[in-house]
Protein backbone atom coordinates (compact mmCIF):
# COMPACT_ATOMS: atom_id res chain seq x y z
CA UNK A 1 0.00 0.00 0.00
CA UNK A 2 2.88 2.37 0.84
CA UNK A 3 4.40 1.74 -2.58
CA UNK A 4 1.05 2.37 -4.29
CA UNK A 5 0.56 5.57 -2.32
CA UNK A 6 4.09 6.71 -3.11
CA UNK A 7 3.47 6.44 -6.86
CA UNK A 8 0.01 8.02 -6.60
CA UNK A 9 1.54 10.97 -4.79
CA UNK A 10 4.35 11.05 -7.33
CA UNK A 11 1.84 11.18 -10.20
CA UNK A 12 -0.27 13.82 -8.45
CA UNK A 13 2.63 16.12 -7.70
CA UNK A 14 4.21 15.64 -11.13
CA UNK A 15 1.24 17.30 -12.84
CA UNK A 16 1.22 21.02 -13.40
CA UNK A 17 -2.47 21.33 -12.49
CA UNK A 18 -1.59 20.31 -8.92
CA UNK A 19 0.37 23.53 -8.55
CA UNK A 20 -2.41 25.86 -9.72
CA UNK A 21 -3.83 25.88 -6.20
CA UNK A 22 -0.44 26.56 -4.64
CA UNK A 23 0.26 29.26 -7.22
CA UNK A 24 -3.05 30.98 -6.41
CA UNK A 25 -2.21 30.85 -2.71
CA UNK A 26 1.28 32.21 -3.34
CA UNK A 27 -0.09 35.13 -5.37
CA UNK A 28 -3.28 35.99 -3.46
CA UNK A 29 -1.99 35.89 0.11
CA UNK A 30 1.04 38.18 -0.38
CA UNK A 31 -1.23 40.48 -2.42
CA UNK A 32 -3.78 40.70 0.41
CA UNK A 33 -1.03 41.17 3.02
CA UNK A 34 0.56 43.90 0.93
CA UNK A 35 -2.83 45.62 0.57
CA UNK A 36 -3.43 45.43 4.31
CA UNK A 37 0.04 46.78 4.99
CA UNK A 38 -0.75 49.81 2.84
CA UNK A 39 -4.10 50.22 4.56
CA UNK A 40 -2.44 50.19 7.98
CA UNK A 41 -4.68 50.01 11.07
CA UNK A 42 -7.62 51.53 9.20
CA UNK A 43 -8.87 48.10 8.22
CA UNK A 44 -9.21 46.90 11.81
CA UNK A 45 -10.75 50.20 12.85
CA UNK A 46 -13.33 49.91 10.08
CA UNK A 47 -14.07 46.31 11.09
CA UNK A 48 -14.51 47.26 14.73
CA UNK A 49 -16.81 50.15 13.81
CA UNK A 50 -18.70 51.60 16.74
CA UNK A 51 -17.20 49.04 19.13
CA UNK A 52 -14.16 51.30 19.29
CA UNK A 53 -16.21 53.89 21.13
CA UNK A 54 -17.11 51.41 23.87
CA UNK A 55 -13.72 49.75 24.37
CA UNK A 56 -10.24 50.90 25.06
CA UNK A 57 -8.04 48.99 22.67
CA UNK A 58 -4.34 48.63 23.51
CA UNK A 59 -1.54 46.55 21.96
CA UNK A 60 -1.16 45.31 18.39
CA UNK A 61 -4.47 43.85 17.21
CA UNK A 62 -3.51 44.32 13.56
CA UNK A 63 -1.19 41.31 13.63
CA UNK A 64 -0.46 38.05 11.81
CA UNK A 65 -3.13 36.07 13.70
CA UNK A 66 -5.94 38.51 13.06
CA UNK A 67 -4.95 38.88 9.45
CA UNK A 68 -4.61 35.11 8.92
CA UNK A 69 -8.12 34.71 10.19
CA UNK A 70 -9.39 37.41 7.85
CA UNK A 71 -7.60 35.75 4.91
CA UNK A 72 -9.04 32.35 5.79
CA UNK A 73 -12.54 33.84 5.90
CA UNK A 74 -12.21 35.43 2.49
CA UNK A 75 -10.42 32.51 0.76
CA UNK A 76 -12.71 29.85 2.12
CA UNK A 77 -15.25 30.11 -0.71
CA UNK A 78 -12.57 29.57 -3.36
CA UNK A 79 -10.59 26.72 -1.84
CA UNK A 80 -13.15 24.02 -2.89
CA UNK A 81 -12.59 24.94 -6.53
CA UNK A 82 -8.82 24.54 -6.18
CA UNK A 83 -9.31 21.18 -4.48
CA UNK A 84 -11.77 19.82 -7.04
CA UNK A 85 -9.29 20.77 -9.77
CA UNK A 86 -7.02 17.96 -8.57
CA UNK A 87 -9.49 15.59 -6.86
CA UNK A 88 -11.75 15.62 -9.93
CA UNK A 89 -8.83 14.56 -12.10
CA UNK A 90 -7.69 11.59 -10.01
CA UNK A 91 -9.85 8.95 -11.72
CA UNK A 92 -11.14 10.87 -14.74
CA UNK A 93 -7.58 11.82 -15.65
CA UNK A 94 -6.56 8.15 -15.86
CA UNK A 95 -9.60 7.45 -18.04
CA UNK A 96 -8.78 10.38 -20.35
CA UNK A 97 -5.15 9.36 -20.69
CA UNK A 98 -6.05 5.70 -21.23
CA UNK A 99 -3.74 4.70 -18.37
CA UNK A 100 -6.42 2.63 -16.62
CA UNK A 101 -5.49 0.07 -19.27
CA UNK A 102 -1.93 0.20 -17.94
CA UNK A 103 -2.66 -0.13 -14.23
CA UNK A 104 -5.92 -2.07 -13.91
CA UNK A 105 -4.66 -5.17 -15.72
CA UNK A 106 -2.14 -5.74 -12.93
CA UNK A 107 -2.54 -8.23 -10.11
CA UNK A 108 -3.60 -5.57 -7.65
CA UNK A 109 -7.20 -5.19 -6.56
CA UNK A 110 -9.10 -2.16 -7.74
CA UNK A 111 -9.94 -1.38 -4.12
CA UNK A 112 -6.25 -0.99 -3.26
CA UNK A 113 -5.61 1.22 -6.26
CA UNK A 114 -8.64 3.36 -5.43
CA UNK A 115 -7.64 3.65 -1.78
CA UNK A 116 -4.15 4.77 -2.74
CA UNK A 117 -5.64 7.40 -5.04
CA UNK A 118 -8.06 8.54 -2.36
CA UNK A 119 -5.29 8.83 0.21
CA UNK A 120 -3.22 10.87 -2.27
CA UNK A 121 -6.22 13.15 -2.82
CA UNK A 122 -6.64 13.70 0.91
CA UNK A 123 -2.92 14.41 1.28
CA UNK A 124 -3.05 16.95 -1.55
CA UNK A 125 -6.07 18.64 0.10
CA UNK A 126 -4.28 18.83 3.43
CA UNK A 127 -1.13 20.18 1.77
CA UNK A 128 -3.09 22.98 0.08
CA UNK A 129 -4.80 24.05 3.32
CA UNK A 130 -1.44 23.89 5.11
CA UNK A 131 0.10 26.02 2.37
CA UNK A 132 -2.54 28.67 3.12
CA UNK A 133 -1.65 28.39 6.82
CA UNK A 134 2.08 28.67 6.29
CA UNK A 135 1.79 31.54 3.82
CA UNK A 136 -0.69 33.63 5.77
CA UNK A 137 0.75 33.07 9.25
CA UNK A 138 4.42 32.95 8.23
CA UNK A 139 4.33 35.98 5.96
CA UNK A 140 1.92 37.71 8.36
CA UNK A 141 4.35 37.29 11.27
CA UNK A 142 7.15 38.72 9.15
CA UNK A 143 5.12 41.71 8.02
CA UNK A 144 2.85 42.46 10.99
CA UNK A 145 4.31 40.68 14.02
CA UNK A 146 2.41 38.83 16.71
CA UNK A 147 -0.25 39.87 19.21
CA UNK A 148 -3.68 38.95 20.58
CA UNK A 149 -6.23 37.48 18.17
CA UNK A 150 -9.10 39.75 17.28
CA UNK A 151 -12.15 37.71 16.27
CA UNK A 152 -15.05 39.59 14.71
CA UNK A 153 -18.01 37.42 13.94
CA UNK A 154 -21.67 38.32 13.45
CA UNK A 155 -21.25 41.69 15.14
CA UNK A 156 -19.63 40.25 18.25
CA UNK A 157 -16.02 40.78 19.23
CA UNK A 158 -13.74 38.23 20.88
CA UNK A 159 -10.15 38.87 21.80
CA UNK A 160 -8.06 35.77 22.47
CA UNK A 161 -4.69 36.04 24.18
CA UNK A 162 -1.56 35.65 22.08
CA UNK A 163 -0.56 32.61 24.16
CA UNK A 164 -3.49 30.65 22.66
CA UNK A 165 -2.77 31.62 19.06
CA UNK A 166 -0.77 28.56 18.01
CA UNK A 167 -3.25 26.10 19.52
CA UNK A 168 -6.29 27.94 18.11
CA UNK A 169 -4.84 28.11 14.61
CA UNK A 170 -3.65 24.49 14.70
CA UNK A 171 -7.20 23.48 15.63
CA UNK A 172 -8.73 25.78 13.01
CA UNK A 173 -6.57 24.41 10.19
CA UNK A 174 -7.12 20.80 11.31
CA UNK A 175 -10.87 21.42 11.18
CA UNK A 176 -10.48 23.16 7.83
CA UNK A 177 -8.69 20.10 6.43
CA UNK A 178 -11.39 17.82 7.81
CA UNK A 179 -14.06 19.95 6.17
CA UNK A 180 -12.25 20.19 2.82
CA UNK A 181 -11.90 16.42 2.70
CA UNK A 182 -15.65 16.31 2.07
CA UNK A 183 -15.19 18.51 -1.00
CA UNK A 184 -12.28 16.33 -2.15
CA UNK A 185 -14.37 13.18 -1.62
CA UNK A 186 -17.25 14.66 -3.60
CA UNK A 187 -15.01 15.57 -6.54
CA UNK A 188 -13.38 12.13 -6.28
CA UNK A 189 -16.80 10.46 -6.54
CA UNK A 190 -17.76 12.51 -9.60
CA UNK A 191 -14.36 11.67 -11.05
CA UNK A 192 -15.31 7.99 -11.08
CA UNK A 193 -18.32 8.62 -13.34
CA UNK A 194 -16.73 10.36 -16.28
CA UNK A 195 -13.72 10.41 -18.56
CA UNK A 196 -12.72 14.06 -18.34
CA UNK A 197 -11.86 16.23 -15.36
CA UNK A 198 -14.09 19.19 -16.27
CA UNK A 199 -17.30 17.34 -15.38
CA UNK A 200 -16.28 16.53 -11.78
CA UNK A 201 -15.12 20.13 -11.16
CA UNK A 202 -18.38 21.64 -12.43
CA UNK A 203 -20.51 19.00 -10.65
CA UNK A 204 -18.69 19.53 -7.34
CA UNK A 205 -19.07 23.29 -7.51
CA UNK A 206 -22.71 22.85 -8.55
CA UNK A 207 -23.47 20.69 -5.50
CA UNK A 208 -21.65 23.12 -3.20
CA UNK A 209 -23.60 26.10 -4.57
CA UNK A 210 -26.97 24.34 -4.19
CA UNK A 211 -26.12 23.14 -0.68
CA UNK A 212 -24.81 26.58 0.33
CA UNK A 213 -28.00 28.25 -0.85
CA UNK A 214 -30.12 25.79 1.12
CA UNK A 215 -27.79 26.11 4.15
CA UNK A 216 -27.79 29.88 4.21
CA UNK A 217 -31.40 30.67 3.33
CA UNK A 218 -33.38 30.76 6.52
CA UNK A 219 -36.54 29.34 5.01
CA UNK A 220 -38.62 27.11 7.26
CA UNK A 221 -39.08 24.50 4.48
CA UNK A 222 -35.32 23.86 4.55
CA UNK A 223 -34.92 23.91 8.33
CA UNK A 224 -35.19 20.15 8.78
CA UNK A 225 -32.51 19.41 6.19
CA UNK A 226 -29.99 22.14 7.08
CA UNK A 227 -28.25 20.27 9.94
CA UNK A 228 -27.52 17.38 7.58
CA UNK A 229 -25.94 19.39 4.76
CA UNK A 230 -22.16 19.39 4.79
CA UNK A 231 -22.12 23.05 3.80
CA UNK A 232 -23.82 23.91 7.11
CA UNK A 233 -20.73 22.52 8.86
CA UNK A 234 -18.12 23.56 6.30
CA UNK A 235 -17.04 26.58 8.36
CA UNK A 236 -16.48 24.50 11.48
CA UNK A 237 -12.94 25.91 11.62
CA UNK A 238 -14.41 29.24 12.78
CA UNK A 239 -15.51 27.50 15.98
CA UNK A 240 -11.83 27.15 16.89
CA UNK A 241 -11.90 30.87 17.75
CA UNK A 242 -14.94 30.75 20.06
CA UNK A 243 -14.40 31.53 23.71
CA UNK A 244 -14.89 29.19 25.42
CA UNK A 245 -14.46 26.38 22.88
CA UNK A 246 -17.71 24.53 22.30
CA UNK A 247 -16.37 20.99 21.88
CA UNK A 248 -19.79 19.38 21.54
CA UNK A 249 -20.69 21.58 18.54
CA UNK A 250 -17.27 20.94 17.01
CA UNK A 251 -17.66 17.18 17.50
CA UNK A 252 -21.16 17.21 16.00
CA UNK A 253 -19.97 19.11 12.91
CA UNK A 254 -16.97 16.81 12.57
CA UNK A 255 -19.29 13.83 12.81
CA UNK A 256 -21.50 15.06 9.96
CA UNK A 257 -18.47 15.94 7.81
CA UNK A 258 -16.78 12.60 8.55
CA UNK A 259 -19.95 10.72 7.67
CA UNK A 260 -20.09 12.55 4.33
CA UNK A 261 -16.46 11.72 3.52
CA UNK A 262 -16.91 8.06 4.46
CA UNK A 263 -20.15 7.70 2.50
CA UNK A 264 -18.68 9.37 -0.58
CA UNK A 265 -15.57 7.17 -0.42
CA UNK A 266 -17.69 4.01 -0.09
CA UNK A 267 -19.90 5.05 -3.01
CA UNK A 268 -16.80 5.68 -5.16
CA UNK A 269 -15.39 2.29 -4.19
CA UNK A 270 -18.63 0.51 -5.09
CA UNK A 271 -18.76 2.22 -8.49
CA UNK A 272 -15.09 1.81 -9.30
CA UNK A 273 -14.93 -1.89 -8.42
CA UNK A 274 -17.58 -2.78 -10.98
CA UNK A 275 -16.89 -0.13 -13.59
CA UNK A 276 -16.21 -1.34 -17.12
CA UNK A 277 -13.08 0.32 -18.46
CA UNK A 278 -13.95 1.23 -22.02
CA UNK A 279 -11.55 4.15 -22.53
Amino acid sequence: MINLLYYELFKTYAKWRTYIGFLVVMVVIPLVLWGLKLEGGNFVQRQMGRLQADFLVSGNLFNAWTISQIIMNSLWVHVPFLISLVAGDQLAGEATAGTFRLILIRPVSRARILNAKYAATLIYTASLVLAIAVMSIGLGLLMFGSGDILVLEGGSLTILPESQALFRFALAYALAIWSMWVVASLAFLFSSFVENAIGPIISTMGVIIVFLVVSNLHISAFEFIRPYLFTTHESVWQKAFADPLDWSTIAASCGVLGAYSAALWMATLAIFKTKDILS
Binding site: L4, Y7, A14, W16, G98, T99, I103, P107, D276, L278
Partner: protein, 305 residues
Amino acid sequence: MSSEIVLRTIGLGKSYRGRRVVQDLNLEVRRGDVFGFLGPNGAGKSTTIRMILSLITPLTGSVEIFGQDLHRNRERALASVAGIVEKPDFYLYLSAVRNMQIAGSLTLRRTPKKEKIDVCLGLVGLSDRAGDRVKTYSHGMKQRLGIAQALLCDPELIILDEPTNGLDPQGMKEVRELVHHLATEKGITVFLSSHLLNEVEQVATRMAIINKGNLIVQGSVDELLRSNANTVVVNVTPQKKALLLLQKMRSASVVETAEQGIRVEIDQKRIPAMVAALVESGCQVHAVIPEKSLERYFLSMTEQS
Protein backbone atom coordinates in the same frame (compact mmCIF):
# COMPACT_ATOMS: atom_id res chain seq x y z
CA MET B 1 4.10 -27.79 -27.86
CA SER B 2 2.70 -28.34 -24.36
CA SER B 3 -0.91 -29.33 -23.92
CA GLU B 4 -1.19 -27.31 -20.68
CA ILE B 5 -3.93 -24.77 -21.07
CA VAL B 6 -2.81 -21.39 -19.76
CA LEU B 7 -5.86 -19.39 -20.79
CA ARG B 8 -9.39 -20.62 -21.17
CA THR B 9 -12.62 -18.71 -21.68
CA ILE B 10 -15.80 -20.58 -20.88
CA GLY B 11 -19.06 -19.38 -22.41
CA LEU B 12 -17.84 -15.79 -22.29
CA GLY B 13 -20.43 -13.18 -23.22
CA LYS B 14 -20.94 -9.44 -23.04
CA SER B 15 -23.72 -7.05 -24.05
CA TYR B 16 -23.84 -3.30 -24.37
CA ARG B 17 -27.29 -1.73 -24.17
CA GLY B 18 -28.93 -4.99 -25.13
CA ARG B 19 -26.59 -5.63 -28.07
CA ARG B 20 -24.55 -8.82 -27.73
CA VAL B 21 -20.94 -8.06 -28.66
CA VAL B 22 -19.46 -11.38 -27.52
CA GLN B 23 -21.45 -14.60 -27.26
CA ASP B 24 -20.66 -17.93 -25.69
CA LEU B 25 -16.96 -17.69 -26.48
CA ASN B 26 -14.84 -20.74 -25.66
CA LEU B 27 -11.13 -20.25 -26.29
CA GLU B 28 -8.19 -22.39 -25.28
CA VAL B 29 -4.62 -21.13 -25.36
CA ARG B 30 -1.87 -23.66 -24.62
CA ARG B 31 1.54 -23.02 -23.12
CA GLY B 32 4.01 -22.01 -25.82
CA ASP B 33 1.35 -20.96 -28.32
CA VAL B 34 1.53 -17.85 -30.37
CA PHE B 35 -2.22 -17.65 -30.50
CA GLY B 36 -3.63 -15.49 -33.29
CA PHE B 37 -6.99 -14.01 -32.39
CA LEU B 38 -8.56 -12.88 -35.63
CA GLY B 39 -11.69 -11.07 -36.58
CA PRO B 40 -12.86 -8.14 -38.64
CA ASN B 41 -13.15 -4.71 -37.01
CA GLY B 42 -15.98 -4.75 -34.49
CA ALA B 43 -15.95 -8.54 -34.19
CA GLY B 44 -15.51 -8.37 -30.40
CA LYS B 45 -11.75 -8.95 -30.14
CA SER B 46 -11.00 -6.00 -27.87
CA THR B 47 -14.04 -6.67 -25.70
CA THR B 48 -12.84 -10.25 -25.26
CA ILE B 49 -9.33 -9.09 -24.35
CA ARG B 50 -10.73 -6.55 -21.88
CA MET B 51 -12.72 -9.35 -20.24
CA ILE B 52 -9.63 -11.58 -20.11
CA LEU B 53 -7.65 -8.79 -18.45
CA SER B 54 -10.50 -7.88 -16.06
CA LEU B 55 -11.05 -4.41 -17.45
CA ILE B 56 -14.68 -5.24 -18.07
CA THR B 57 -16.96 -7.71 -16.35
CA PRO B 58 -18.43 -10.49 -18.49
CA LEU B 59 -22.18 -10.80 -18.59
CA THR B 60 -21.92 -14.56 -18.86
CA GLY B 61 -19.20 -17.16 -18.56
CA SER B 62 -15.79 -17.06 -16.96
CA VAL B 63 -12.07 -16.76 -17.62
CA GLU B 64 -9.41 -19.10 -16.27
CA ILE B 65 -5.75 -18.13 -16.38
CA PHE B 66 -3.19 -20.70 -15.27
CA GLY B 67 -6.08 -22.65 -13.78
CA GLN B 68 -7.22 -19.72 -11.62
CA ASP B 69 -10.69 -18.28 -11.99
CA LEU B 70 -10.22 -14.61 -12.86
CA HIS B 71 -13.33 -13.45 -11.03
CA ARG B 72 -12.68 -15.34 -7.79
CA ASN B 73 -8.91 -15.20 -7.75
CA ARG B 74 -7.99 -12.17 -9.80
CA GLU B 75 -4.61 -11.39 -8.24
CA ARG B 76 -3.25 -14.92 -8.62
CA ALA B 77 -4.71 -15.29 -12.10
CA LEU B 78 -3.01 -12.12 -13.35
CA ALA B 79 0.27 -12.60 -11.49
CA SER B 80 2.13 -13.90 -14.56
CA VAL B 81 0.21 -12.01 -17.23
CA ALA B 82 1.09 -8.82 -19.05
CA GLY B 83 -0.68 -7.08 -21.84
CA ILE B 84 -1.25 -4.13 -24.07
CA VAL B 85 -4.89 -3.32 -24.73
CA GLU B 86 -5.48 -1.44 -28.00
CA LYS B 87 -2.83 1.29 -28.01
CA PRO B 88 -0.29 1.54 -25.22
CA ASP B 89 -0.97 4.67 -23.17
CA PHE B 90 1.36 6.08 -20.56
CA TYR B 91 1.74 8.99 -18.19
CA LEU B 92 2.97 11.35 -20.85
CA TYR B 93 4.37 13.85 -18.36
CA LEU B 94 6.69 11.19 -16.88
CA SER B 95 9.78 9.53 -18.29
CA ALA B 96 9.84 5.99 -19.69
CA VAL B 97 11.71 4.82 -16.58
CA ARG B 98 9.08 6.31 -14.25
CA ASN B 99 6.30 4.71 -16.28
CA MET B 100 8.10 1.38 -16.06
CA GLN B 101 8.48 1.81 -12.30
CA ILE B 102 4.78 2.54 -11.86
CA ALA B 103 3.65 -0.37 -14.03
CA GLY B 104 6.19 -2.76 -12.52
CA SER B 105 5.49 -1.84 -8.91
CA LEU B 106 1.85 -2.84 -9.33
CA THR B 107 2.85 -6.37 -10.26
CA LEU B 108 5.96 -6.82 -8.14
CA ARG B 109 4.66 -4.93 -5.06
CA ARG B 110 7.96 -3.06 -5.02
CA THR B 111 9.82 -0.75 -7.35
CA PRO B 112 11.47 -2.82 -10.08
CA LYS B 113 15.25 -2.83 -10.13
CA LYS B 114 16.92 -0.30 -12.39
CA GLU B 115 19.01 -3.00 -14.10
CA LYS B 116 15.84 -4.91 -15.03
CA ILE B 117 14.24 -1.76 -16.45
CA ASP B 118 17.41 -1.07 -18.45
CA VAL B 119 17.41 -4.61 -19.88
CA CYS B 120 13.76 -4.36 -20.98
CA LEU B 121 14.23 -0.92 -22.51
CA GLY B 122 17.36 -2.18 -24.24
CA LEU B 123 15.47 -5.13 -25.68
CA VAL B 124 13.10 -2.77 -27.50
CA GLY B 125 15.81 -0.27 -28.40
CA LEU B 126 14.78 2.56 -26.09
CA SER B 127 17.84 2.77 -23.82
CA ASP B 128 18.90 6.12 -25.27
CA ARG B 129 15.53 7.73 -24.56
CA ALA B 130 14.85 6.15 -21.17
CA GLY B 131 14.97 9.46 -19.31
CA ASP B 132 12.85 11.42 -21.78
CA ARG B 133 9.21 12.23 -21.12
CA VAL B 134 6.92 9.86 -22.99
CA LYS B 135 5.09 12.80 -24.58
CA THR B 136 8.15 13.26 -26.79
CA TYR B 137 7.88 9.68 -28.08
CA SER B 138 6.54 8.67 -31.49
CA HIS B 139 3.73 6.15 -31.76
CA GLY B 140 6.17 3.39 -32.63
CA MET B 141 8.31 4.19 -29.60
CA LYS B 142 5.26 4.08 -27.34
CA GLN B 143 4.37 0.71 -28.82
CA ARG B 144 7.86 -0.56 -28.05
CA LEU B 145 7.68 0.91 -24.55
CA GLY B 146 4.40 -0.95 -24.12
CA ILE B 147 6.15 -4.20 -24.91
CA ALA B 148 9.05 -3.30 -22.59
CA GLN B 149 6.68 -2.69 -19.66
CA ALA B 150 4.90 -5.94 -20.46
CA LEU B 151 8.21 -7.83 -20.24
CA LEU B 152 9.30 -6.16 -17.01
CA CYS B 153 7.76 -8.69 -14.65
CA ASP B 154 8.83 -11.83 -16.54
CA PRO B 155 5.31 -12.82 -17.65
CA GLU B 156 4.44 -16.31 -18.81
CA LEU B 157 1.55 -15.02 -20.92
CA ILE B 158 1.52 -11.80 -22.91
CA ILE B 159 -1.69 -10.48 -24.42
CA LEU B 160 -1.16 -8.08 -27.28
CA ASP B 161 -4.13 -6.32 -28.82
CA GLU B 162 -3.35 -5.08 -32.33
CA PRO B 163 0.33 -4.50 -31.48
CA THR B 164 1.31 -3.23 -34.92
CA ASN B 165 -1.51 -0.71 -35.28
CA GLY B 166 -0.20 2.57 -36.60
CA LEU B 167 3.34 1.29 -37.14
CA ASP B 168 5.31 1.69 -40.35
CA PRO B 169 6.41 -1.48 -42.20
CA GLN B 170 9.76 -1.50 -40.42
CA GLY B 171 8.06 -1.15 -37.04
CA MET B 172 5.64 -3.95 -37.91
CA LYS B 173 8.52 -6.19 -38.85
CA GLU B 174 10.30 -5.42 -35.58
CA VAL B 175 7.21 -6.26 -33.53
CA ARG B 176 6.74 -9.53 -35.45
CA GLU B 177 10.36 -10.46 -34.80
CA LEU B 178 9.98 -9.56 -31.15
CA VAL B 179 6.87 -11.74 -30.81
CA HIS B 180 8.72 -14.60 -32.48
CA HIS B 181 11.69 -14.04 -30.15
CA LEU B 182 9.48 -14.01 -27.04
CA ALA B 183 7.81 -17.25 -28.02
CA THR B 184 10.81 -19.20 -29.26
CA GLU B 185 13.67 -17.86 -27.14
CA LYS B 186 11.92 -16.97 -23.89
CA GLY B 187 9.13 -19.54 -24.00
CA ILE B 188 6.42 -16.94 -23.38
CA THR B 189 2.90 -17.75 -24.54
CA VAL B 190 1.61 -14.93 -26.74
CA PHE B 191 -2.04 -14.11 -27.33
CA LEU B 192 -2.04 -11.86 -30.37
CA SER B 193 -5.16 -10.10 -31.54
CA SER B 194 -5.08 -8.63 -34.99
CA HIS B 195 -7.06 -7.94 -38.11
CA LEU B 196 -3.84 -8.08 -40.14
CA LEU B 197 -3.91 -11.63 -41.46
CA ASN B 198 -0.46 -11.55 -42.93
CA GLU B 199 0.93 -10.66 -39.52
CA VAL B 200 -0.78 -13.58 -37.80
CA GLU B 201 0.06 -16.00 -40.61
CA GLN B 202 3.75 -15.25 -40.13
CA VAL B 203 3.94 -15.73 -36.39
CA ALA B 204 0.96 -17.69 -35.06
CA THR B 205 0.97 -21.41 -34.29
CA ARG B 206 -2.69 -21.61 -33.30
CA MET B 207 -5.55 -19.28 -34.00
CA ALA B 208 -9.19 -18.50 -33.51
CA ILE B 209 -11.47 -16.47 -35.73
CA ILE B 210 -14.43 -14.59 -34.35
CA ASN B 211 -17.08 -12.63 -36.17
CA LYS B 212 -19.99 -10.67 -34.72
CA GLY B 213 -18.98 -11.88 -31.29
CA ASN B 214 -19.16 -15.59 -32.18
CA LEU B 215 -16.30 -18.05 -32.43
CA ILE B 216 -16.12 -19.29 -36.01
CA VAL B 217 -13.18 -21.65 -35.80
CA GLN B 218 -10.22 -22.45 -33.56
CA GLY B 219 -7.20 -24.71 -34.03
CA SER B 220 -3.68 -25.09 -35.30
CA VAL B 221 -2.85 -22.66 -38.11
CA ASP B 222 -1.34 -25.47 -40.24
CA GLU B 223 -4.34 -27.74 -39.82
CA LEU B 224 -6.87 -25.05 -40.51
CA LEU B 225 -5.09 -23.91 -43.63
CA ARG B 226 -4.58 -27.49 -44.82
CA SER B 227 -8.33 -27.91 -44.81
CA ASN B 228 -8.37 -25.16 -47.38
CA ALA B 229 -5.69 -26.84 -49.51
CA ASN B 230 -8.04 -28.08 -52.24
CA THR B 231 -7.52 -24.82 -54.04
CA VAL B 232 -4.53 -24.59 -56.37
CA VAL B 233 -3.22 -21.96 -58.72
CA VAL B 234 -2.29 -23.43 -62.12
CA ASN B 235 0.36 -21.39 -63.91
CA VAL B 236 -0.20 -22.42 -67.51
CA THR B 237 0.15 -21.07 -71.07
CA PRO B 238 -1.73 -20.34 -73.17
CA GLN B 239 -4.16 -19.41 -70.44
CA LYS B 240 -7.27 -19.06 -72.62
CA LYS B 241 -6.94 -22.55 -74.05
CA ALA B 242 -6.27 -24.03 -70.62
CA LEU B 243 -9.24 -22.20 -69.18
CA LEU B 244 -11.61 -23.69 -71.76
CA LEU B 245 -10.28 -27.15 -71.01
CA LEU B 246 -10.48 -26.76 -67.22
CA GLN B 247 -14.04 -25.45 -67.44
CA LYS B 248 -15.01 -28.66 -69.26
CA MET B 249 -13.44 -30.91 -66.62
CA ARG B 250 -15.89 -32.45 -64.15
CA SER B 251 -13.29 -33.00 -61.47
CA ALA B 252 -12.15 -29.35 -61.38
CA SER B 253 -13.97 -26.16 -60.76
CA VAL B 254 -12.49 -22.87 -61.94
CA VAL B 255 -12.72 -20.19 -59.27
CA GLU B 256 -11.13 -17.29 -61.12
CA THR B 257 -8.31 -16.31 -63.40
CA ALA B 258 -5.55 -14.16 -62.08
CA GLU B 259 -2.21 -12.80 -63.21
CA GLN B 260 -0.29 -15.67 -61.64
CA GLY B 261 -2.57 -18.35 -63.11
CA ILE B 262 -5.96 -19.97 -62.88
CA ARG B 263 -7.38 -20.70 -59.43
CA VAL B 264 -8.96 -24.10 -59.45
CA GLU B 265 -10.75 -26.10 -56.79
CA ILE B 266 -9.82 -29.72 -57.18
CA ASP B 267 -9.35 -32.86 -55.12
CA GLN B 268 -5.61 -33.31 -54.55
CA LYS B 269 -5.73 -36.85 -55.95
CA ARG B 270 -6.98 -35.57 -59.29
CA ILE B 271 -4.23 -32.99 -59.81
CA PRO B 272 -1.93 -35.37 -61.85
CA ALA B 273 -4.82 -36.18 -64.19
CA MET B 274 -5.58 -32.49 -64.63
CA VAL B 275 -1.93 -31.73 -65.42
CA ALA B 276 -1.78 -34.67 -67.88
CA ALA B 277 -4.93 -33.45 -69.64
CA LEU B 278 -3.51 -29.95 -69.97
CA VAL B 279 -0.21 -31.21 -71.35
CA GLU B 280 -1.95 -33.56 -73.82
CA SER B 281 -3.95 -30.65 -75.16
CA GLY B 282 -0.72 -28.78 -75.91
CA CYS B 283 -0.62 -26.44 -72.92
CA GLN B 284 2.57 -25.82 -71.02
CA VAL B 285 2.11 -26.25 -67.25
CA HIS B 286 4.73 -24.18 -65.41
CA ALA B 287 3.54 -24.70 -61.87
CA VAL B 288 0.68 -25.98 -59.73
CA ILE B 289 0.75 -24.09 -56.43
CA PRO B 290 -1.40 -25.26 -53.51
CA GLU B 291 -3.11 -22.22 -52.07
CA LYS B 292 -2.55 -21.87 -48.37
CA SER B 293 -3.63 -18.33 -47.74
CA LEU B 294 -4.95 -17.27 -44.40
CA GLU B 295 -6.61 -14.33 -46.08
CA ARG B 296 -8.70 -16.61 -48.32
CA TYR B 297 -9.47 -18.87 -45.40
CA PHE B 298 -10.43 -15.95 -43.18
CA LEU B 299 -12.68 -14.43 -45.83
CA SER B 300 -14.38 -17.74 -46.56
CA MET B 301 -15.00 -18.37 -42.85
CA THR B 302 -16.28 -14.88 -42.05
CA GLU B 303 -18.45 -14.79 -45.17
CA GLN B 304 -19.97 -18.14 -44.26
CA SER B 305 -20.78 -16.86 -40.78
